[in-house]
């Protein structure tokens, strides 16, 4: 690469921005608590890079160049705001510890702290994922809004409010203490999983909410694993997402039609991703602390086994669902257990488990109605099955799923 070639410069800016964005934001905001200010400063630094790198050549350490430029902007702004008491310490902090620009990797990595801040219990849980996506990955509010089905203006306001809270509420950029870590880590994991989108493949072909942020979520999980290699749930989450992602090309047919997991062609599954998921799951299991994500990954691992054995071990899946329900009796787990039990012991048994669920809680839960329809049909209770299927179709968010269920109902 020629450091003086303008096209190379643009490419470098893009790749540095992608790889270092979260790191630079984390470093700057960990010292000022001002995430929005750090984002503005880094944004201006990137614009400055676009002007100067093609002209003057790419600096030897592009990330450090960006950091220096962003800091200069923060210092300038702090000087302007000197009337405000709080800007004085900011100024000191920013001007104080300048990293050595000549060393290859002078920027301490504070991204873990930033992840914990984004998922802090004092921040509205609905904002944990959007904050992570914006601060660690640099996604803009419009993209995040699209994934969360709200208007860009609304998402923008919520992000501004959340960053305001981080800055002024006294939330510090620290990794939680050991006794708090499990609970705080759970919030981080949930936020990452929410970015991935939940419920990829419930047994009866329920609603896969493709939010289009799967790559980002997996990336965040990898970052988290780098920092916390000894936390089995981090690896469990990574394994779970990799297993689901491995089926990316198998869950849609040629014409975009929905293909439920049991009908998928294992030839289309991405083998290296499955292998990586298995490695993570084995490493997690070795630590001897089971958890929700490990169990969910184990269920997906059993499904993946079909590529080799040609059949699905529903008995094992039912056992894992039982464990999952014991650990966290969420609606999804209980519906999944009913579906697995039905495969092992018959539709009647599955239906009994569905009947135990709270009527109000399931009224708008699409997978419940899809599984229910499936089981009723097996029992030849056709009119009830059709009713349940209508409910499932009415609650489906994904058009491919809707068409799949319509076809199944009329079969």
């Amino acid at each position: 690469m020629n450091p003086h070639n303008p096209e190379d410069a643009h490419q470098t800016i893009e790749s540095v921005a992608r790889e270092s964005y979260g790191r630079l934001i984390a470093f700057l905001s960990a010292r000022t608590r001002d995430v929005a200010g750090a984002e503005d400063a880094l944004g201006e630094a990137l614009i400055a890079a676009l002007a100067s790198w093609p002209r003057d050549g790419i600096p030897r350490n592009p990330a450090a160049w960006l950091l220096t430029a962003a800091r200069r902007r923060l210092v300038d702004r702090a000087r302007h705001e000197r009337v405000r008491a709080e800007s004085a310490p900011t100024l000191e902090i920013i001007a104080g510890d300048r990293p050595d620009v000549t060393t290859p990797d002078p920027i301490p990595d504070d991204r873990l702290k930033l992840l914990f801040v984004c998922a802090h219990p004092a921040i509205d849980p609905d904002m944990h994922t959007p904050l992570m996506l914006q601060t660690v990955l640099g996604l803009d509010a419009a993209d995040i809004a699209r994934a969360f089905l709200v208007s860009p203006a609304t998402m923008g306001q919520r992000l501004v409010r959340a960053k305001m809270k981080i800055r002024h509420a006294g939330i510090v950029f620290e990794v939680p203490e050991l006794h708090e870590l499990p609970q705080r880590l759970e919030a981080v994991l949930n936020a990452i999983y929410a970015a991935y989108g939940s419920g990829w493949e419930d047994a009866a072909g329920a609603d896969p909410r493709a939010r289009g942020l799967a790559d980002e979520a997996i990336w965040l999980a990898r970052v988290l694993k780098e920092f916390l290699p000894d936390e089995p749930e981090v690896r469990g989450l990574l394994a779970l997402m990799l297993h689901c992602e491995a089926r990316r090309f198998a869950r849609r047919g040629k014409d975009g039609e929905f293909i439920p997991l049991s009908d998928q062609d294992p030839e289309l599954w991405i083998t290296p991703m499955i292998a990586e998921a298995e490695r993570e799951l084995v490493a997690a299991a070795r630590m001897g602390r089971a958890g929700r994500f490990q169990i969910e990954a184990a269920i997906q691992s059993v499904h993946a086994e079909r590529a080799r054995s040609g059949h699905t071990d529903w008995n094992a899946i039912a056992v894992f669902y039982e464990q999952l329900v014991q650990l966290s009796p969420a609606l999804g787990a209980r519906v999944g257990r009913a579906a697995a039990v039905a495969e092992v012991k018959g539709a009647e048994s599955g239906l009994r488990l569905l009947d135990e669920l709270d009527h109000d809680a399931v009224s708008a839960y699409q997978p419940y109605w899809a599984v229910r329809a499936h089981l009723l049909k097996q029992l030849h209770r056709d009119s009830e099955a059709a009713d349940a299927c209508d409910r499932a179709i009415g609650l489906a968010e994904d058009d491919a799923v809707r068409r799949f269920l319509l076809a199944r109902r009329d079969r």
């Binding site: 009337v83 008491a85 509420a169 939330i171 620290e174």
Partner: protein, 125 residues
């Protein structure tokens, strides 16, 4: 930084004040207050008299409006406040969680805004 712990109590808790020193809630507060002071984080604070003693004042069209009763018409009412000097919100949340008022009422944690005070007084915070 300084945090205000705004303590909210239910009518039942307020009613318990007539029991005086025998009240278990007062006993819990005595221990909590000692812990706060011993930890060296206590800056100040006081309990408030019953919400029924509150009077709320507004100005409308140059006319003074006096209302008998507290500003907020909620079940839980402001019952007192404490100012604590703490390094972080997490530390403040930990102290709030230990407060006896959280069992039945609630504690709202709010950071003080010294820069606003400075803007008003012109004196360094």
């Amino acid at each position: 930084m300084k945090f205000a712990m705004l303590i909210y109590e239910t009518p039942e808790t307020f009613a318990g004040r007539v029991n005086g020193d025998d009240d278990s809630y007062v006993g819990a507060w005595r221990v909590y207050y000692k812990a706060v002071v011993d930890a060296g984080v206590y800056v100040g604070g006081d309990p408030l008299r019953l919400p029924e003693t509150a009077t709320t004042v507004r100005q409308k069209d140059g006319k003074r409006h006096i209302q008998d009763g507290p500003y907020a018409n909620t079940k839980e009412q402001l019952a007192g406040f404490m100012i604590l000097e703490l390094p972080s919100l997490d530390a403040a949340l930990n102290w709030a969680a230990r407060c006896p008022a959280t069992a039945d009422g609630a504690v709202e944690v709010r950071p003080l805004a010294p820069e606003e005070k400075q803007r008003i007084t012109g004196e360094p915070a």
